[in-house]
């Protein structure tokens, strides 16, 4: 088993100017061959403006390109369809120079008009894109409609100028999101609502076959603009497969990567067998599992009570429940996220200390409350562990185990005093600390229907967050990260969350799969980066 630690080195690379480095492909990589990837659920859509689940995210990445991209296996930005970019001194105008000669799968050359069309489309309310909000800093976003974004201008066929209404340090990450993928207007018009089934992009692969409920076949794009990749001739996705069965098929040599990972029931068996464990790659993930404490519901309106709950939870035991596939968390940000405060201990497990804090808050005898949880394994078991930990300090938590949609509804409505986030926890959309704040800890999310289930809203922290996000100058990255670190430590002082653990990723592969380990725990392509992996036989 090889372990890839999300290291300080990773954070440092992010501090370098974005264009500084690129990827050196494996010299041993051989082109050709095909791999089989399995999933339990059918793929919802391959429309980059719509697709927003962890399953289609990496598929869409391989079919489409945006102006920005990441160095494979890392969170380092690199240019995609843009050859270069320049930022104006006031931090408000980005000028992107496009790569010449890039062709869509339909053979037409991609131009600046396509970039504008794609950004107009994703922000047009008629598209119903779940990612539209990411583009909120582009000028004219609020008036976006059929007329398009006033902030996006085509200067010449290979130059696009994007004007922002406010400086936005995360903007290049936003341009690397799938939602910013460049699509050809004629293909979207021809397919209409079915574009998600008939995708046309500039990506490394093109969709060759999709039999609903059965399989999808991605075929190598021979005209791909990045030289030398992809290596594979095709990737076959078989859907509707139970994870346990996918593992059996992998052991039988029929499957190369089980997309849903190693099923919990088989985890110990696999890891105990050296031959199989050797083919499991472990890596960090931009994920935090947490308990929200609704600060508007007594007695969680008292900070002492919230701190007491933080001290009452035995995180190590909860990590054991999920076979040790996580590390205990001390703060909202996961360790591999820039802005993470190394050395911050958070609230240590301390039952007596927790009781003392409850007494200080005037609830020495404890109280009764509800803990909402999603009803799929292992979440109810984790909720039981939380329930027992709380009982030890006198808090009686009744578990409300519900379907995901119902928990999200209760969280948004603010009717849930406590929620265990498992199954709905935050996984970053892009590797930047701001992505963990706005919707889930900021005032903007603390509204009816928002994702800030603690309903925590601190104007001073919000102001700091806004200040951090306006520091778009690449030279100020370190200052910006320090500011974000302050914001999250400020959040912890008020304890609206109990950060419980940061999940790690375990990707299993067949013996014939090649490519460095980082590609199998690629932070932005789950389960693997299809463009760069190869087969050795």
């Amino acid at each position: 088993m090889k372990r890839l630690l999300a290291s300080t080195a990773l954070m440092l690379t992010l501090a370098l100017p974005a264009m500084a480095q690129d990827y050196t492909p494996d010299p041993n990589a051989k082109p050709g061959g095909s791999i089989t990837v399995t999933y339990k659920d059918d793929v919802a859509t391959l429309d980059p403006a719509i697709g927003y689940d962890w399953q289609n995210w990496s598929m869409i990445k391989s079919l489409f390109d945006g102006m920005m991209d990441y160095v494979p296996g890392t969170t380092t930005l690199r240019p995609g369809l843009a050859e270069s970019y320049a930022l104006s001194e006031d931090g408000l105008t980005y000028t992107f120079k496009l790569r010449p000669g890039v062709k869509f799968h339909n053979g037409r050359e991609m131009t600046a008009d396509d970039v504008k069309y794609s950004l107009d489309r994703v922000t047009n309310p008629a598209t119903q894109s779940p990612g539209a909000g990411f583009f909120g800093s582009i000028a004219g976003y609020d008036a976006a409609g059929d007329a398009g974004l006033s902030g996006v201008k085509v200067i010449d066929p290979l130059t696009v100028e994007i004007t922002l209404s406010r400086p936005d340090a995360t903007f290049l990450h936003v341009m690397a999101l799938n939602f910013a993928s460049v699509v050809p207007k004629e293909a979207v018009d021809a397919a209409g609502d079915d574009f998600g089934k008939q995708p046309v992009g500039t990506g490394a692969y093109k969709l060759a076959e999709w039999t609903l409920g059965q399989r999808l076949v991605f075929e190598k794009n021979a005209d791909y603009w990045r030289a030398g990749v992809p290596y594979l001739d095709s990737v076959v996705f078989e859907v509707g497969q139970e994870p346990v069965v996918a593992l059996l098929r992998l052991q039988n040599g029929e499957v190369d990567v089980p997309g849903d990972g190693i099923p919990p029931a088989k985890f110990q068996e696999v890891m105990a067998d050296p031959a199989q464990a050797e083919r499991v790659v472990v890596g960090g993930q931009l994920h935090t599992g947490y308990i929200t404490l609704n600060v508007t519901t007594p007695p969680f309106d008292k900070v002492e009570v919230r701190k007491a709950v933080n001290m009452a939870i035995n995180k190590d035991r909860i990590v054991q429940i999920i076979n040790g596939r996580a590390v205990p968390a001390t703060q909202p940000l996961p360790p591999s996220m820039p802005g993470y405060t190394a050395g911050y201990a958070g609230y240590a497990y301390d039952v007596e200390g927790a009781k003392a804090l409850l007494a200080e808050a005037g609830v020495a005898d404890g109280f009764e409350t509800d803990l909402y949880v999603m009803n799929t394994d292992p979440n109810p078991r984790i909720a039981q562990a939380i329930q027992q930990d709380l009982a030890a300090i006198g808090i009686k938590a009744n578990i409300q185990s519900l379907a995901q949609a119902n928990v999200i509804e209760a969280g948004g409505a603010g009717t849930a005093p406590m929620i265990w986030s498992g199954g709905m926890a935050w996984i970053a959309d892009f590797p930047d600390p701001s992505n963990f704040y706005g919707p889930i800890l900021g005032c903007a999310g603390a509204v009816e229907g928002g994702w800030n289930w603690s309903k925590f809203c601190d104007a001073a922290l919000d102001a700091k967050a806004t200040e951090a996000d306006s520091m778009a100058d690449p030279a100020k990255v370190a200052d910006r990260m320090a500011l974000w670190s302050d914001v999250y430590i400020g959040v912890m002082e008020q304890a609206p969350w109990v950060p419980v653990f940061n999940e790690e990723r375990y990707t299993m592969k067949s013996p014939r799969m090649g490519g460095e380990d980082a590609l199998y725990v690629d932070p932005v392509s789950i389960p693997v980066n299809y463009d760069y992996v190869f087969v050795t036989e």
């Binding site: 609502d193 409920g213 078989e238 509707g240 069965v245 379907a403 509804e409 994702w451």
Partner: protein
């Protein structure tokens, strides 16, 4: 007969209308918002409202239901909220697999269940009967997931006789059909046994035996057609169960049936798909029962449809 058929068809239409109303209403009052599923976690309140308006989900219940019904009578089941694909296309793509598995499974259930039931009835109280009844009890109480995996492990992984899941050839069909057949045969054998025991006590059986007919002829020609009536009614119900989808067996064997579609839609509050699948399976139950009722007089001429 035509009058009977007409009456039954009108009844069926009313039942389907009722099912559509109840399902639509339950989904309407469900404390889960489909718009939030579509909008995702990064959406602004404005985006959420926009989507709600576009889908007409801001309208009162009656308006929403009326719109759905008007679409439905024109053959439009709407588009999936999340996939944007036509519901009719999604269901149609799953229908062949569902029907194939249903027919094969019912065939296995009948073959196993009816045989077991007859043998048990004929050996009533003896060892064979007891063994069969214990077997049928185990079959009805065995969890689908365990049995499916067990069969898959033994016959596909270890022995390699069948592929490890998938769809397309006869070999792919055997294990899922056998799993469902084995599990369902428990119900059929119990039903068949008790019905057969009743029939074997009847006067006409004694007469048949008295006039010197052979045992197999008595059982197959005289007893079976009478004893099988309740079993046929049960097939009607079974059709509905299979059309609603057999999520567990489908997912273990990677069978692209309607159950997986329904399950995913429920998880994601994709109302048009949930409505579509519910109505298709309700249709199947209604039709299955109608067919069972129409077949009955062919087997037992004493029964008249009025």
């Amino acid at each position: 007969m035509p009058a009977y058929l007409l009456r039954r068809l009108i009844q069926s239409a009313l039942i389907l209308l009722g099912v559509s109303f109840i399902t639509f209403f339950l989904l309407y009052i469900l404390p889960a918002d489909p718009v939030r599923q579509i909008a995702g976690r990064s959406a602004t309140p404005q985006t959420v409202e926009n989507i709600r308006q576009q889908l007409g989900l801001d309208q009162p219940f009656v308006v929403q239901y009326w719109r759905y019904l008007s679409g439905l009578v024109q053959g439009d089941m709407g588009r999936s909220y999340l996939q944007k694909t036509e519901v009719a296309e999604l269901i149609a793509s799953r229908l062949p697999a569902t029907l194939l598995l249903m027919v094969a499974a019912i065939f296995c259930e009948l073959l196993l269940g009816v045989t077991m039931g007859i043998v048990a009835a004929l050996t009533r109280g003896r060892l064979a009967d007891q063994a069969l009844m214990i077997g049928s009890f185990l079959a009805v109480s065995a969890p689908q997931f365990v049995v499916s995996l067990l069969l898959l492990y033994v016959f596909a992984v270890k022995l390699g006789w069948f592929p490890i899941g998938g769809y397309g050839t006869f070999a792919h069909l055997v294990l899922p059909a056998l799993t469902l057949g084995l599990l369902g045969s428990g119900w059929y054998s119990r039903m068949m046994r008790s019905s057969m025991i009743d029939v074997l006590r009847a006067d006409y059986i004694r007469t048949a035996r008295a006039k010197g007919l052979g045992r197999s002829r008595v059982v197959l020609r005289h007893a079976l057609p009478n004893a099988i009536l309740p079993v046929i009614a049960m097939i009607g119900i079974d059709i509905g169960v299979f059309m609603g989808g057999i999520v567990v067996v489908e997912s273990v064997f990677g069978w692209p049936g309607i159950g997986q579609l329904a399950w995913q839609a429920i998880q994601r509050v994709d109302i048009p798909i949930i409505m579509g699948v519910t109505l298709v399976s309700a249709c199947a139950i209604v039709l299955g029962n109608l067919l069972a009722d129409l077949i009955t007089p062919l087997i037992d001429p004493r029964i008249k449809l009025r």
